[in-house]
Assembly symmetry: C2
Homo-oligomer: 352 residues x 2
């Protein structure tokens, strides 16, 4: 129970964003040298940022970081993905070597990269960018039994919380959760169905690209898992243990910790979105610190974001994960802060 | 005729993008460490960039610039905007002082700012960021007669072409056209109707924010202008002279010159979009160098982008102009280039 208790304590620390700061930021927007509302959603992103950090104008988040949480999945044995499990480990090597899409995009937007091994099935070589936090070599097959124990789930949540806390303490002021794990859109779909009540047909997608036959199998596997576990959304750790992945759990922990610190989290695609539903079930106010970076083509992403009440910044028909879609939205979030902090007022310019 | 001849010569210099480079970039995307197509539209933006510069991978455009073209509009006398004409000049002062939204966003994405006075109604103080290219103090009322002469239109096109050429020669590798001009969404709507055949009801919007009565008047004014001039899309300079604004003309010139140099142009909202229709009518291949940065809430923007065959990167319900929406999309374009240039291949990583 010790680990579960720690997750509960973390969740209890989450406070809602500062609504007074949101209101003051909106008022400031009305005074700036532009017609009211003419920056559209950029204004609201800026106001939300002000609420997260409790300051108007909010400081520009100049030190973003992506944390790519990696794990493997027992459900791969059902054939839900054409990729072999070894690709998870190979891609961790690629992240460490700097050659993945997430690395290229992180460099482009000035974000640092960390990788969290929270359950990759094979042993990984040490690397300065890689944090080892593995207590089990992937999950079990969620369609035949629980994906993991409650303790495992709680430990993975605390692993994500731990790395998030350390990064924030070291100066990171915006976090993007990333994910890597062959077959991890299957647990994502199951989690989204569990928390939104949507059918597996509505939450299951083609992941990185599967044929019709594999897709039908994947929907069936998610359906079987839901029927087997009858998940209870009021017991988020139970849902996570039954249906989740270790990286989903770690991302939930990262989201909770960011909320505790008042640091914005820019969500990536369907795995992040499903983890945010877990985090929300643990601490509803944590959603106040989350920004939807993009809309994944996975249908579960749209279902999850709707439930979270978040509108994505980008919709570029991406479906890679790794944090790529979240990273791409970071400059928009930075610009939203800068507009509030650096624009002249109508009064200063003698207009209006 | 000398100036018209120069515009024609400029248009004739535009060559289509390098389709071979586009194909090679798409092939390279298939070899990178990600499932094919999983970066969605980011992949296509990268491939288009390769075609524009004729290199695979395309170099990352690290030196973007926004050129805010400013002019005034005789049609303001009809009451199509609640803002007084003096705001155009005041905002030019704001751009030079660094306090406008375009400045804040330009700093955020690392773009330099230039302002082109191509027809502001009042005399402007000199400033290092301000290029004076004014031959007339705004346009005439397009609903009562031609907005300007053909020579004026051609001269404004060449002003935009000139500043674009100088910036590119000085190292700028990506251009964002911006606009400032009270009432300039009225000529934008008229131009879009002229080039797309859409009715004024479909192309006219509320600009920076007008009430129902003003909106109805604005639609009527655009309708009157179209009936008065019966614009002929096969005579783009004639359409521009009859219905355009001086900043619309300058932006058309900027787009043409960028295309001649093989430099990408990231379009902003409805004024840029209408200017791109002019540029396209002069040199259809120039659209191959244009990227739609965002979708403005102005209905004409969607009509114009559809005609141009461009899909916007962002849709944040913005309607400010100044280049703000184009600037916000620059990091996505940079990331698209970086992904092609910096990702490892499957072969290098021993995957697949």
């Amino acid at each position: 129970m010790a680990l579960e208790e720690r997750v509960r304590e973390l969740a209890e620390e989450v406070q809602p964003p500062d609504e007074g700061a949101v209101v003051r930021a909106r008022e400031r927007h009305l005074a700036l040298t532009k017609p009211p509302g003419s920056l559209g959603r950029l204004e609201e992103i800026g106001a939300r940022l002000a609420g997260m950090v409790g300051e108007v104008p909010p400081p520009v988040p100049e030190n973003p970081a992506v944390v790519i949480c990696a794990g493997d999945h027992g459900v791969l044995a059902r054939g839900v993905s054409p990729w072999p499990q070894e690709v998870t480990a190979a891609m961790v090597g690629n992240f460490c070597a700097g050659g993945a899409a997430a690395n290229a995009i992180a460099r482009s937007v000035g974000a640092r990269v960390s990788v969290l091994d929270v359950g990759v099935a094979s042993e990984l070589e040490r690397h300065p960018l890689l944090r080892a936090a593995k207590k089990r070599a992937g999950t079990d097959d969620l369609s035949r039994g629980p994906a993991m124990g409650r303790e495992d789930a709680a430990r993975a949540v605390m692993s994500g919380a731990g790395i998030a806390g350390e990064l924030i303490e070291s100066g990171v002021d915006l976090l993007v959760p990333g994910d890597m794990g062959i077959a991890n859109t299957t647990p994502a779909a199951a989690l989204i169905s569990a928390f939104t009540g949507r059918s597996p047909e509505e939450t299951t997608g083609r992941g990185t690209g599967i044929d019709d036959e594999t897709f039908e199998l994947k929907v069936r596997v998610v359906d079987e898992a839901l029927k087997l576990h009858e998940p209870d959304p009021s017991d988020p750790l139970g849902v996570l243990a039954a249906l989740g992945g270790l990286e989903h759990a770690a991302i939930a922990g990262l989201i909770l910790t960011s909320a505790v610190y008042g640091v914005p989290v820019v969500l990536d695609g369907v795995v992040s979105n499903s983890a945010a539903l877990v985090a929300r079930a643990l601490a509803p106010d944590c959603v106040g610190y989350a920004i939807a970076g993009h809309l994944s083509v996975e249908p579960g992403a749209e279902a999850a974001l709707e439930q979270l009440g978040l509108e994505p910044i980008l919709d570029l028909r991406m479906r890679l994960g790794e944090g790529t879609g979240g990273l791409l939205a970071v400059p928009v979030v930075q610009a939203a802060a800068r507009v509030l902090g650096e624009m002249a007022t109508m009064k200063e310019m003698g207009i209006g």
